[in-house]
Symmetry: none
Subunit: 201 residues, 4 copies
């Protein structure tokens, strides 16, 4: 009984995740979710209060961790020495060490949080994250080139890097290792590009 209960619950969560991932919160259909989960509409509401609450249960923890990460990134994320290293292959190694620490967060739920939360209370998640990355970037940009004026680029870079990560997650959802490699590769691109830009200004 207990087991069965959990099975139903898990089935709903699993299928709902796919539905939200595919269609976004607003276009997601409870009917489709329960059908895929092998249960019924009525029973769904024995497990979850609403579509929104279901969504919360899927991305809530993710969001919590994510906020924690953001709030504490100054302590956790301190690879600023990166910016002083000038050899790209060196960078790569450093990133390969550093990135895996927060890569567990970069799964489908992260995508849902960032891209499929329109219409929920999380729909600012994307913006919040971007603002934070922006701030982060601007700091570094300023730090390395005091004369750099076009600081607005930080926000674009942020959105950019976020989209890139999301895009990789979506593309390699079924190959954890490749996904991680791609993210590292991709971030390298970013740092290299940034360095190039900054170094020449």
């Amino acid at each position: 009984m207990q087991i069965k209960k959990e099975q139903v619950r898990d089935s709903i969560l699993k299928n709902a995740e796919l539905e939200f991932y595919t269609n976004g919160f607003e276009k997601a259909s409870i009917r489709r979710i329960v059908k895929a989960s092998g249960t019924t509409i009525g029973n769904f509401y024995n497990y979850f209060e609403s579509k929104e609450e279901l969504f919360n249960q899927i991305v809530g923890e993710e969001y919590y961790n994510f906020k924690f990460l953001l709030q504490n990134h100054n302590k956790l994320v301190k690879p600023d020495y990166l910016w002083q290293i000038s050899n790209p292959s060196e960078w790569k190694k450093v990133l390969a060490d550093f990135i895996p620490k927060f890569i567990p967060q970069l799964g489908n739920k992260f995508v849902i949080l960032i891209e499929c939360s329109k219409g929920t209370k999380y729909d600012q998640a994307r913006e919040v994250l971007i603002d934070l990355l922006d701030e982060h970037f601007k700091e570094h940009l300023k730090e390395h080139n005091a004369k750099y004026e076009m600081i607005d680029i930080g926000k674009v870079l942020a959105e950019q890097v976020l989209n890139g990560i999301v895009s990789i997650i979506r593309q390699y959802y079924n190959d954890e290792k490749k996904k991680n490699d791609m993210i590292i590769e991709y971030l390298l691109f970013y740092f290299i590009g940034t360095m190039g830009l900054l170094g020449e200004f």
Copy 2:
């Protein structure tokens, strides 16, 4: 009342553009559009045959130009010498010359075409463009580094660069000049990053 014809039509088009831009084709609501346009549902259908046709009228020409650009990009877009230039500030100048040629296409309608066309006959636009960019990138990557194995990165780069442009358009929709500057800046980032990766740095 009847004199308004063009006003109403323009009002609908303007508000519809915003609605599609904000909610995508499928979630866009005709009722919201007509309310924002100060007219009625019935009257809407005096101007447009359907929601889909309204969408077509907004992005149709855009799509036509866009296809033309894609089909003729080999002739139009030939700054491949870019890849042989090693001085980033030189790159920047070249890009600044080259990019404005197709920048007029990069407005809100382009965003709608790329990001908000799910459910319409244009919903492959994004994929088509990405495939083309991918092909383009793979060519160059192969050309410059025969040993470069991870050719899959082409598609990610393509999606990446497209997202970046879209993101910039979204952010600077009200400042044409800055938008253009940002796109140039941004593409520079891309080329520099790519060069770095490839070993030309």
Copy 3:
């Protein structure tokens, strides 16, 4: 000007007739009618007060004649000697003389009146006509066979003969002569059948 006016009016009437004939009153579309007539919705209402009034103008006279015919059929329509004639080829000749007198009424407008008037004030036309024919038939049936009990057949015969005529009009709408021949032929069938039934009972 005056001529043009009549042209528009006639064009509307002609196309409306076809529209009513094809789709019935309720499914008929004013928009389609005006489009086919080469005019506009607004102008339509300069010529006709409403869809219903347009319908009236098309079948009104028809209905008037038809009612007159019905009310005076005892005077006009007196081929009762038909029923005493026993030679079918003789019948045929008599019918061929008699029927043409009211055949002018049996055109498309008659069909519209009988079959396409649902939703208008004429929608009882069919029933009225059937009742009258029924009465007529019952009279004759009684007259010729006093013991004939199943007098209800009159109504069926009436509906039957009406449907038959309508069906012929619809099928031979473009060949006046053949249409008339078929109607005669068809009515012969009826009288022969009736005679056969009655004579043997």
Copy 4:
């Protein structure tokens, strides 16, 4: 509330049958059906997928049986000796035996199938049946009078006989026995009429 399931379903089916019977498929209104059925629009779609599917459920089996009958009518329907019998009261007896076999099919649903299916996938049912009857009639006409030229009459007769049956069903929908009697009576009329025509030519 939920116990009603079958009641509601039956109520919808019953009222829908009446609605289709009265207004035809296209003019039939789901709103009227659900109001008459004592339920709501939303709930209607818990029982039926669409207006068309509702229609299918009403006439689907009818159509299946009807097609079977048509395809097998050469085996099932073989009272051709009828045409050699010259005594009408004898005909009547034979018909009285034969007709009841397919009379169960001749109810309101048959009428809906034949007369109210415009706009559905069954809208050719009428034509198919008429063509088949036409063929049937032409055969017999040829057989009995090689010189009979006006073979076009077959189609008219077919439409005629079909209309007649439909008309009887419509008139005696509430008296099964009388309906059957009338159909027999009516078909007799037809055979006698046909015989009369043919025998005298």
